[in-house]
């Protein structure tokens, strides 16, 4: 099995053209990026608003309830409904990205909201005390303090989108999912296994990249400060914080 998967990867035929690894990988990255962008544009402002004002918290739990909806069903329904009204590749890309974005919203929203919410009230009061406006408090105190949890939301959303985008290959999307769906259709399990490895590798690579980004954007003063419990020497603060719990629930279907 391992030998035949290795042989699949070393076959030059699998590295060129529409069906080649580079093209499929590029497509997969493109879908993931577009999905996260769409989801972030909705979820992050909303999360900042909910966290800052404390209003409409029910939205966070409502968004979490979306998890119960089977992704495959949403993808198929969206493709069936929107497909006939769209031109060319858009008939497959738009419904898929739309549905994947819906899935990426809950972790992003929960991360942003929980991040703002978890900001030490003393820090907030101190900021107000030195005469900062609401807007200044948000951007200069709350957002920087919330970044670890926001990033943790981004990371779980990314993992989820990378893995789930594979299912969208069934209603006609490109990307790495093609290797899995087509491999299954051809009865070539090694193709499906190779596709799975590529997806897992991509997920790990993106996770590493985002961890690096997080290290860069999060203020050094916060490192290790948010979790605050035992053993925070060797783990990333967002991962340790109990408040991160609703963020890091990764579901993919």
């Amino acid at each position: 099995m391992i030998g035949s998967i290795l042989a699949w990867f070393t076959d030059p035929a699998h590295w060129s053209g529409e069906d080649g690894v580079p093209h499929r990988l590029f497509q997969h990255l493109w879908y993931t990026g577009a999905t996260l962008l769409v989801a972030a544009l909705v979820a992050i402002p909303l999360g900042l608003w909910i966290g800052h004002t404390g209003r409409a918290r029910w939205l966070v739990s409502a968004a979490n309830a979306v998890r119960a909806v089977p992704t495959l069903g949403l993808l198929l329904a969206a493709s069936l409904w929107l497909g006939p009204h769209l031109q060319g590749d858009l008939a497959y890309v738009v419904p898929s990205i739309g549905v994947l974005a819906i899935l990426a919203v809950p972790p992003l929203l929960a991360g942003t909201y929980a991040g703002i919410e978890a900001v030490d009230p003393a820090a907030r009061d101190a900021a107000k005390g030195v005469g900062m406006s609401g807007r200044q408090v948000l951007w200069q105190v709350e957002v920087p303090n919330a970044l670890p949890l926001v990033m943790s939301g981004v990371r779980s959303a990314t993992l989820q989108v990378v893995a789930t985008a594979t299912i969208a290959a069934y209603p006609g999307l490109g990307g790495l999912g093609r290797f899995i769906i087509d491999g299954q259709a051809y009865g070539e399990y090694r193709t499906a296994a190779a596709g799975a490895l590529l997806v897992a590798a991509l997920a790990v690579a993106l996770e590493g990249l985002l961890a690096l980004v997080q290290r860069r954007v999060v203020s050094p003063g916060l490192r290790g400060a948010v979790g605050g419990s035992r053993n925070d020497d060797d783990a990333d603060p967002a991962e340790m914080d109990p408040a991160a719990e609703p963020v890091d629930v990764r579901a993919h279907a």
Binding site: P84, A91, A185, G187
Partner: protein, 307 residues
Amino acid sequence: MKRRTALAAVAVAAALGLTACGGGSDPLASDSPTASAGGGSGSGGAIVVGGANFSESTLLAEIYAGALKAKGIDATTKTNIGAREVYLRALQDNSVQVFPEYTGALALFYDKSYSGTDADEVYAHVKEVLPKDLTVLDKSAAEDNDSINVTKETAQKYSLTKVSDLAKVAGDLTLAAPPEFKQRPQGVPGLEKTYGITFKSFRPLTGQAIIQALANGQADAANIFSTDPAIAANGFVTLEDDKKLFGSQNIVPLVRADRADEVKDALNAVSAKLTTEAIAGMLKQTDIDKKDPKTVAQEFLASNGLG
């Protein structure tokens, strides 16, 4: 917190933990759970009739299972298994025992270089090349072939009537078909070899998505089964297979050799009554009128004295 409550909690939790252990490890330990309807494996059990991932196969599976039940044979269906590349494996590992098949596709699956097109020759060849544990019963007159279709507008624009007309324009066109069509000898490789046709790109889709893609312009040509009522309903033009790439595709029951005697009479009686028109009529009911395949199958059996 009261000490007694804590202890009670402890006891309950411990008990729960233990039962969870016992209950949880069972399904994994036992060999094959009884959850699925198609649990009958091994000789002597119920007959499981398999169906592939398209309407006609589901319909035929229901017809076969209904005919078997009418003869007092315990039969269930396990439909939507997948493409040929997958379901033949399910027959060989004895997950299913009977499967509706197509002569030409079967011949070519086991003999990649086969090029016969005469219906009887193809049927005879299938019998030769099948693995020892599988066998085919009588073939029916009903035929369902792959076919290349285009919209009326495309046909007019490029003046297409036969598949070979595509050769000069295919470089600008996209073909929609099930994913496995890309690798099959009668699929994309066959179009290249027999007709010298290479499409600009290939769009792997399933079911109605293929029809939609052709109707809405996501594809310029599509591989659709010749019995599919959607061809007429959408006014698609089927291009004549002038070089006989798709050969003969008579519907035939493929069965495990060790179960052939049990099911032979019932299924041969079905094959004797099946015609292309009957299939097309039933598919119109399942796909256009959205009737349940099982109901349609039973009506067919009843009206032919088989059910």
